[in-house]
């Protein structure tokens, strides 16, 4: 029996091609999602190994006060430690290098072409580098930075900026651009995912940290190398950590831990952050496998139908039903194995391509997407199981049909779909009710329903459960909808093509389950995409509305990177332009907390609320009176009302003049004492007649003084935290969309709260004087900010599209996924039509015999196919748009203020689905027409 199954598989192999493609695609998605995770994980752990490559890390042993209780305490959750303790660590045996590496993320590198080097997302980092401080980096050319104006470039940065050793360029720091000389290049064993890494002299990094108000005498930890060239193994790391822990005094409050443990922790948390991608891919894997399983079921139904006589023969010579079942299942297993193996390779290949593609886009990956053996195994098992599930029903038909019935080849009429229809209907109704409830609860004000118990239900959950019920319900209800849908959708073809249209419309309703299953693949794909389409479109409209409805600014100044502020000098220059009426910078007040929460207030010029985005006199007056204007979303969240007093607390890090003076004096005294001692010794030596010895002592003394002069002054600067608190009354609650999640105060108050260095302007609005040529002014402004490299001048349209560019990117990815689900759906339709054609061989032969032309047969199948795909698409659009509407309502507080249904997209889906239907009918029609009329009518 197994041999018969294997032989049949060989004979039917051509038939199986479509099933194999379907299984391969499904498995490819499953394995692809694993591979994607594997690739990212591999990349992340490679980067951790290079970028956090210390053998031992030393950190404080006191958990931060603001660490949330009950959550995991990570490496970064400990209090900072004093930098001076580094000297203690350095003395310990086995410690070859100690450093506290810092980096600046708010810089921009200017490339060889004079433009800022921008990336699609990866950051630009300036790392404090000196010889030995980063073991993972190898100097490939030149030397390490020895002066403040010298930099080294990572290979990726050099490639992106086209800068070479010896070139002079600029780096834009928070206080403006500085001329820098490239003195070397470094490389790391793995890619940095497109990050632009620049090495600076540590003293320069310290300077800017200080400017930014970071406590430079504190650090989060030290990195210790036990070997300057090769990483220590786990055992050696542990030994070194133990030794450090044993020798460090308890009073230092330091703990040494192995590098591996830190890397593992960081790798884990990064991988967790990236984990969301896999379920998304899995949804499409499930669609593919669902379609795959019924493509297989269809294929096997065809094969079984055509081989019925063979099975009947087997049965009549004594084969048991189980044996016949087995012959079919053996075929399925062969098919499953072939499809799964291809799928694994396909999934792997796709990821290799994605890796290559990301390299092209400036995010080179060195992580390997090769799936692990267990991933391969899971993929293959999934493929085989799905195949067996798909084949088991037809196999059962083959096995239990009585031999004579099998010989006579009667087609059993389809079971009625009414019961299934009712079940689906009830699910759909419940789903809709939940959605309506979710909509009402989130949109209906304080008391949406008379029942308080229901009012407390979470709309998000209602939405989710409702969506699940609806999707499954529609799939269950599907077969019952086929009849009516065929009639409605068939109306047009019925009237345009009287004969073929009518035949096609009636054919649709013949195998309702099959038609519905075929349409289901499109349904799910289209539902997901049209739901997200509505959400994305609503996001866009909501954002654009802010600009269209209230914003009177003609231009918006934006910083190229979120972390790099717009230089004050640039703002001053723009203000001096004669054609500029007003300029309102949005100033973030760093380090200021309100009532201990994490809301960060901002300050701005009155022109912002007066003319650029008018909010009404009352609110302006409140601001002028030194009161805060609070967005209604923030107010609701915290339960604040007008008249409440908020405690603004600014933690400013300032140079402790006294301590610094003392430290410098102490240092000076120390040096003087040493020099004096040396001089005394020299005099003594001179007295004993040792002139050479005295000379060397004097030189030593000179050198000590000289060294003291060269010492990094930053090392002697002592900072202190200065806390400024202010009670500010809430003067107004703003529901204007630009301000509804912000807290604003006037600039005078801001000056009192925080010093210059703790403020950051990353956006500013510009209003031109009336009658000014805006195009010319924009060019003028662009010229003005050119020397600052990082400031962009956007007009209104550019600003709007910059706000929605993220949304567009997300939509692009979704359309790619939609394309995949369409491809899968095409396979499904092709397969179903092929099965229909095979079942209707005689009927088509008859039609041909009585004069139906080839074009008419093609037309008939084309119309059937189009009805099927449009049916699925319309169901998908209805459910998807419905979901989008409810999602919009539920998340209206998160900025989805305006509902917008992208009708053009929806019409686009319908048009695409018509083409998909026509395309899918080509192959089955060819097959139907290939069969000679005689064979068709005389086959018995």
């Amino acid at each position: 029996m197994i041999r018969i199954g294997l032989r049949d598989a060989k004979v039917h192999f051509r038939r199986f091609i479509m099933s194999i493609i379907a299984i391969a695609l499904g498995v490819a998605f499953v394995v692809g999602s694993f591979c994607f995770r594997a690739m990212l994980n591999d990349q992340v752990s490679q980067m951790m190994a290079t970028n956090s490559d210390a053998d031992v890390y030393i950190r404080g042993d006191v958990v931060k006060k603001d660490h949330k209780e009950g959550t995991k305490v990570g490496h970064a959750d400990y209090e900072d430690i004093n930098v001076d303790l580094m000297d203690d660590v350095r003395k310990i045996d086995g410690v070859k290098n100690v450093s506290d590496t810092h980096s600046l993320s708010n810089i921009v590198l200017v490339g060889a072409d004079g433009n800022a080097v921008t990336t699609v997302g990866p950051p630009t980092l300036a790392v404090a580098l000196e010889k030995g401080s980063w073991r993972g980096a190898t100097l490939t050319d030149g030397h390490w930075p020895e002066a403040d104006d010298e930099i080294v470039l990572h290979s990726g940065a050099a490639e992106q900026s086209k800068l070479k050793v010896g070139d002079t360029t600029k780096i834009v720091f928070p206080d403006g651009p500085r001329d820098m000389k490239v003195v070397g290049t470094i490389s790391t064993p793995n890619s940095q995912l497109g990050a632009i890494i620049v090495g600076l002299k540590p003293s320069l990094v310290t300077h800017y940290r200080e400017l930014a108000g970071e406590p430079i005498d504190q650090t989060s930890g030290f990195e210790v190398y036990g070997d300057l060239n090769t990483p220590l193994d786990a055992k050696a790391q542990q030994e070194l950590a133990d030794r450090i822990n044993a020798e460090l005094p308890k009073s230092d409050h330091l703990v040494a831990i192995t590098g591996d443990s830190v890397r593992d922790e960081e790798t884990q948390s990064t991988q967790d952050q990236l984990g969301f991608i896999q379920p998304l891919i899995m949804i499409f894997a499930i669609i593919a496998l669902f379609v795959g399983s019924f493509i297989i079921a269809n294929t096997f139904t065809m094969i079984v139908r055509e081989s019925m006589r063979g099975y009947a023969l087997l049965r009549s010579i004594g084969a048991s039903p189980a044996q016949v079942f087995l012959t079919v299942i053996v075929e399925a297993i062969v098919l499953g194995i072939v499809g799964s193996v291809l799928g694994v390779l396909l999934g792997w290949g796709m990821l290799e391509l994605i890796g290559k593609g990301m390299g092209q886009m400036g995010m080179p990956l060195t992580g390997s997407p090769a799936p692990s053996w267990s991933d391969v195994l899971v993929g293959i098992i999934v493929g085989i199981v799905v195949t067996i599930i798909g084949a088991s029903l037809p196999a059962r038909t083959a096995a239990i049909a009585p031999p004579i019935q099998a010989m006579n080849e009667t087609v059993n009429p389809e079971k009625p779909v009414r019961r299934r229809g009712w079940i689906g209907f009830v699910m759909v109704v419940f789903g809709c009710l939940l959605w309506v409830l979710a909509y009402v609860l989130s949109d209906g004000g304080d008391k949406p329903t008379p029942w308080s118990a229901i009012n407390n239900w979470s709309p998000e959950w209602l939405l989710g459960i409702g969506a699940g019920l609806l999707v499954i319900g529609v799939i269950v209800l599907g077969p019952a909808l086929v009849g009516p849908a065929g009639k409605v959708l068939g109306w047009i073809p019925d009237h345009v093509f009287p004969v073929t249209g009518r035949l096609a419309t009636r054919n649709i309703a013949r195998a309702k389950r099959r038609t519905a299953n075929t349409a289901a693949a499109l349904f799910v794909g289209i539902a997901i995409v049209s739901c997200l389409g509505v959400v994305a479109s609503s996001v866009k409209t909501s954002v654009h509305d802010i600009v269209d409805d209230g914003l009177n600014a003609d231009f918006v100044l934006m910083s190229a990177s979120m972390t790099n502020p717009i230089p004050t000098k640039a703002l001053d220059e723009i203000k001096q332009n004669d054609e500029v009426k007003s300029l309102a910078p949005i100033t973030m007040l760093l380090g200021v907390s309100i009532n201990g929460g994490d809301t960060m207030p901002f300050a701005s010029d009155y022109s912002l609320v007066e003319s650029i985005y008018p909010v009404g006199n009352a609110k302006v007056q409140a601001l002028k009176d030194g009161e805060a204007m609070v967005g209604d979303l923030v107010a609701d969240e915290n339960g604040w009302k007008v008249g409440d007093t908020l405690k603004f607390k600014a933690e400013n890090v300032v140079v402790d003049e006294e301590a610094t003076a003392k430290a410098q004096a102490d240092y000076q005294a120390g040096i003087e004492a040493q020099a004096g001692k040396l001089q005394a010794e020299a005099q003594q030596l001179a007295a004993t007649g040792d002139a050479a010895g005295a000379q060397s002592k004097i030189e030593e003394a000179h050198k000590a003084i000289e060294d003291a002069q060269n010492v990094d002054p930053a090392k002697l600067v002592k900072t202190k935290k200065e806390v400024v608190t202010k009670d500010i009354r809430i003067g107004a609650i703003a529901d204007d969309s630009l301000f509804n999640d912000e807290v604003m105060i006037n600039e005078t108050l801001a000056d009192e709260l925080v010093p210059e260095n703790m403020r950051m302007v990353n956006q500013a609005y510009v209003q031109a004087k009336p009658g000014v040529d805006l195009k010319r002014l924009q060019n003028d402004l662009k010229k003005t900010v050119k020397p600052y490299y990082t400031v962009g001048v956007l007009n209104r349209d550019e600003f709007k599209s910059s706000l929605s560019s993220m949304v567009d990117q997300v939509m692009a990815i979704l359309y790619a996924l939609l394309a995949l689900s369409i491809i899968i759906a095409i396979f499904g339709i092709v397969n179903t039509l092929a099965l229909n054609v095979s079942e209707r061989t005689k009927e088509i032969g008859l039609l041909r015999a009585i004069g139906t032309s080839r074009a008419q047969i093609r037309g008939m199948l084309g119309i059937e196919s189009v009805i099927m795909s449009v049916f699925g698409t319309i169901l998908g659009i209805i459910v998807g748009v419905g979901a989008g509407v409810v999602v919009r309502a539920v998340f209206s507080d998160n900025g989805l203020t305006k509902l917008s249904i992208p009708w053009d997209q929806i019409v686009g889906f319908l048009v695409v689905s018509i083409f998909v239907g026509l395309l899918a009918s080509v192959f089955p029609a060819n097959r139907a027409l290939k069969k000679p009329v005689l064979d068709a009518v005389s086959s018995e």
Partner: protein, 308 residues
Amino acid sequence: MARSANHHSPHASMDGRNTTDPVVARAIDLYKHYGSEDNEVVALNHINVEFMRGQLTAIMGPSGSGKSTLMHCMAGLDVPTSGTVLVEGLEVSSMNQRELTKLRRKEIGFIFQSFNLVPTLTAKENILLPLQIAKRPVDMDWFNKVVDVVGLANRLDHRPSQLSGGQQQRVACARAMMEQPSVIFADEPTGNLDSRSSREVLTFLQQSVREYGQSIVMVTHDPRAASFADRVLVLADGSITNDMDHPTYDEILEVFADHHDETVAEELAVGPNGADGAALAEYAEVQDAARRAARTAGSANAEGEARA
């Protein structure tokens, strides 16, 4: 012979059609073989035959005699190895698909043994289907007449699955008649019917020949069915062995007895040896009973196996 088919209107046939050529279809030196050279089966061995206008011609012969192949070649369903087929002077044997479709729409009607109707269409829709496919106008008077003759006036809105075998076959006849083709080819039209339904169908065919001048070529292995024909051709091993004009049932039986044809003899042996016309009903009944018995035995067998 050179007359173009495009010239005659559908109505021309009602008043006896273009009678200048009494032959509606002819085969000239028709040869057809299957299989490879060392395993050759000759189905048609250089046959020359003319089918007359306004006649019901029956083609008889045992299985494998080539009777179906002859009809299929005449109807353009099969392509002969060599020789020529002419229907209304048009050379069917050299036509491409497009020309064949045109031919089927205008000149040829079909009635098959089984599966004659499109299951999704009602009886009326099935009858009108050929005209609609060809986008030809429907002559409702003719339709009513045809429906009346086949006696289906009250079953027109039924689907094929709601009709008996005989009714289905009569719908098929009506459909073929509706087109008023030059010639109707009927392939064992009564093969699946009981004797009563058979008689109804055959009577209808006879009537359409006599009253409306329709030309019909019918393949059958049933001598009783053949006895309805104006002319009976008997085929054996790819050649025409007998050409009988208005033979009686007995004469037909005799031919087979003369030829000691085993297949037909066997088939006849199933029924009682009575050679009178009344025996047909009984014969058919017995055949049906035998078929039923075989089916019961088969399913009993299957159940037995399932239990084992």
